[in-house]
Symmetry: C2
Subunit: 112 residues, 2 copies
DNA sequence: TTATATACATAAATTTCTTATGTATGTAAA
DNA sequence: TTTACATACATAAGAAATTTATGTATATAA
């Protein structure tokens, strides 16, 4: 059922940045649920991976945060900074190249 | 020029097993050169990653080895075991699923 | 009152990879 | 002739990302 999470190592930053490129702002828990729904439950993004990744992207200046209390619970919203907007383009190009090279190496034709 | 090697974390075993599914038998150095040529120099497989990976796959019983001396140099040939033949099918299916999910998450259409 | 969902966070351990180093042979260039 | 590069293996130290486990806290449904 679930995919081999091992393979997603290294792609997490790109996934986060791309979701924020599409959604203006999102909070951590929302990101885990979004990944779950997009992959139909196949990829489960662990909190122990997500939160440190968000903190790192923020420390690098790619993300900005605003904190709100909603329904008596804390939410930390993340959005792309100017640098983040630029970086997501690079990351997506790298991901594209990566997929192309991996398909070459495994002789997997793009399925269509 | 070169791809972001970071992204290939976790894919090395699959790449090795697939090359051996196609080539009957290969030795370590040959694998590094094959990866280099397939990717046109974009992915450079380091020895520090390759040899431990080969040893691990052998220890797991997926690979078998025969050693030869060619032109006064040692060569350790690797080939798929019966278990290895089965496992490469699983690994390739996992890689296919992984690519499909990643394309979904990054809304990258397969390029064709 | 128990389990589940929401919402954040961090520490320890694991895994994989990079970088650096080591041994050894053969060939081409300076 | 000695320097660099290619061939061919191997391992150790360090870096980086992730898993697993744990913690806090609120709200709701069983």
């Amino acid at each position: 059922m679930a995919v081999n999470n091992e393979l997603f190592k290294g792609t997490l930053q790109t996934i986060i940045l791309n979701l924020l490129a599409e959604n203006e702002r999102m909070y951590g828990y929302e990101i885990t649920q979004k990944v779950k729904s997009i992959t139909q439950g196949e990829l489960l993004l662990k909190e122990g991976a997500l939160y440190p990744a968000l903190h790192k992207l923020e420390a690098e200046g790619l993300l900005e945060t605003t904190t709100e209390v909603v329904e008596n619970r804390l939410r930390k919203y993340y959005s792309l900074s100017n640098d983040g907007e630029k970086e997501v383009v690079n990351k997506l190009r790298e991901a594209k190249d990566f997929i192309a090279q991996l398909q070459l190496l495994l002789n997997l034709k793009p399925s269509f």
